[in-house]
């Protein structure tokens, strides 16, 4: 009886080792590595799968970790292509950027909050702590919970740039990382205000998550308005390279900007760049 137990143990070990060795070390002919924005990574992961199925022997590895990391890794040549979810700055002209899609950033509230629209100045006053009660902007008598994004997030940079604020001027009660976290935070707090990707918010609202997008300065926050350019708070999703793309890198970027991936972009709730 003991020996059967013992042999079972050894068989288990052998199976595990064999498993590790059997997985053959087939080196792919060509390999691309992408790193960067966690917003873009799931989208480009889908591109990569389709690109691999169209090009035999090509492997595209998509890593994540944030836009800043994408830029660093691209500059240091650890990655062939970086993913950056905002427009490039003036001091980043050493990198070549290619926009693959657009994403709008919308202000979201809990669905039971009666406020339906905020002006630019009202948002600034709420985030800088001048307005602390919903009554001041036409809501119920309740304290406002300000939800801000963490440092280094592209959504934060876009938000600050549009409203002309500094992050140190914001008085947040809650600091969040990703879009889904923002949506979950607002859904759980009737008096909270936050900002997330419009595509993600529209999708969540469609699945009966109790949140709503509100109009900003009279512009309705919707994917349609991001597409026609009338919604002011939007950002490009970029692929970046350290030098002029060639070979496989060029093929992948061309593929990412072609009609072939528009269905994938829409499936991830972003807006395809229309003129391509």
């Amino acid at each position: 009886m003991f020996s059967s137990k013992r042999s079972a143990f050894w068989i288990a070990i052998l199976v595990l080792i064999g498993f590790a060795c059997l997985v053959p070390g087939v080196a792919a002919a060509q390999k691309l590595v992408l790193t960067g924005s966690s917003t873009i990574a799931p989208l480009v992961g889908e591109f990569a799968r389709r690109f691999e199925s169209l090009n035999q022997g090509v492997r595209v590895d998509v890593q994540t970790g944030g836009s800043s990391r994408g830029m660093n890794d691209t500059r240091n040549k650890i990655a062939n292509i970086g993913m950056v979810s905002r427009a490039m700055k003036a001091n980043e002209s050493d990198l070549h950027a290619f926009t693959i899609a657009l994403d709008g950033v919308g202000i979201i509230l809990h669905i039971n909050n009666p406020v339906t629209s905020l002006s630019k100045q009202q948002v600034i006053d709420i985030y800088s702590g001048k307005i602390t009660n919903w009554q001041a902007v036409g809501g119920k008598n309740a304290r406002i919970t300000v939800v801000n994004k963490a440092e280094g997030r592209s959504t934060l940079e876009l938000f600050l740039a549009y409203f002309g604020m500094k992050n140190s001027a914001i008085k947040p009660h809650i600091i969040i990382g990703d879009n889904q976290q923002g949506i979950k935070t607002i859904a759980g707090n009737v008096n909270a205000i936050g900002y997330v990707s419009i595509g993600a918010a529209e999708h969540a609202a469609g699945y009966r998550v109790p949140i709503k997008l509100i109009a900003l300065d009279g512009h309705e926050a919707s994917v349609a308005n991001v597409r026609n350019g009338s919604f002011p708070l939007s950002r490009p999703l970029n692929l970046i390279t350290a030098s002029i793309p060639q070979g496989l890198t060029k093929d992948f970027i061309t593929f990412s900007r072609s009609q072939q991936v528009h269905d994938l972009i829409e499936a991830q709730y972003f807006v395809p760049v229309s003129d391509d």
Partner: protein, 287 residues
């Protein structure tokens, strides 16, 4: 007379009070576990099927399954344990059996392990990224992820194994010496089997920590959800997949719950298997 009765009654009352508090605490712990589990089951059980376990994820994880991710996770765990276990257990044997408690060397090793145990996992991730991925050129791969995990597991494995060996009564060692057993025979025939349950408990803690790891693996084993072709391929760990689905992918909650349920089931399975194995070993060698 009345006073004595009064005192007995009062002390009984106090006992009852303490007992109630203890039961409440235990009930609270159980409720937390059951709450988490029922939440996961409610959110994920409808999503689980055989196909979910063997298919690769599609549509950023909303569709498809977690087959390739399970394989990556198990490979990561395998690499980590193959590297960490021999190192950790030999260190523990050295510390417990060959070095006096008060020796400078032993204290230094123990102290550095304690410091290592308190280091947050993201620091291990950055170290693994800088050392294994970039300096050693392993890139984003299961190998560099597994080696990073191995570094994280060392302190847990060493300290539990050392405590287990130290807890054995010295009479074991003395009797073995009196019988003329060599030191290595004592170690392999008597001490290690006797300490097997503690070794297994430490191993389980380590496996738990490795399976739950997210931050360190994001920077080392990476985010690629394809079926790994070799240990040098990037592969996404299950915990990282759950994190990505719930934080990054709109509409990823159901597969996230289902994946978490699989993770919990996996841990339970490994737990039961390892405990059975350890008690079997102890009974066979000692009793």
């Amino acid at each position: 007379m009345l006073e004595t009765v009064n005192r007995i009654w009062r002390s009984g009352y106090r006992d009852l009070f303490a007992q109630t508090i203890i039961y409440i605490a235990v009930a609270f712990v159980c409720v937390v576990f059951i709450w988490i589990l029922s939440d996961l089951i409610r959110g994920g059980i409808a999503h689980i099927s055989w196909d979910f376990l063997i298919e690769s994820p599609r549509d950023a994880g909303r569709a498809g399954g977690i087959g390739s991710i399970l394989v990556s996770t198990l490979l990561l765990l395998l690499v980590a344990l193959v590297v960490a276990l021999p190192l950790a257990w030999t260190t523990a044997i050295l510390l417990a059996e060959y070095v006096p408690v008060t020796s400078k060397f032993g204290i230094t090793v123990r102290y550095s392990l304690q410091v290592l145990a308190g280091v947050p996992s993201i620091v291990f991730g950055l170290f693994g990224n800088a050392f294994f991925s970039i300096y050693l050129g392993l890139g984003f791969s299961i190998l560099s992820g597994g080696l990073t995990l191995a570094c994280m597991l060392l302190p847990i494995l060493v300290s539990t194994a050392e405590a287990g060996l130290r807890a054995l009564p010295d009479s074991y060692r003395l009797s073995a010496a009196a019988l003329g057993l060599s030191r290595s025979a004592t170690l392999f025939q008597l001490l290690l089997p006797a300490a097997a349950p503690t070794l297994a408990a430490g191993l389980l803690l380590g496996i738990g920590r490795a399976l739950a790891e997210t931050a360190a693996l994001l920077f080392t084993s990476g985010y690629v959800e394809r079926m790994p072709g070799s240990l040098l391929d990037s592969g996404r760990a299950l915990a990282l997949h759950i994190f990505d689905l719930s934080m990054n992918v709109p509409g990823g909650d159901a597969p996230a719950n289902a994946s978490a349920l699989v993770l919990v089931a996996l841990l339970l399975g490994i737990n039961i298997f390892a405990m059975k194995l350890a008690y079997g070993l102890q009974r066979k060698r000692i009793i």
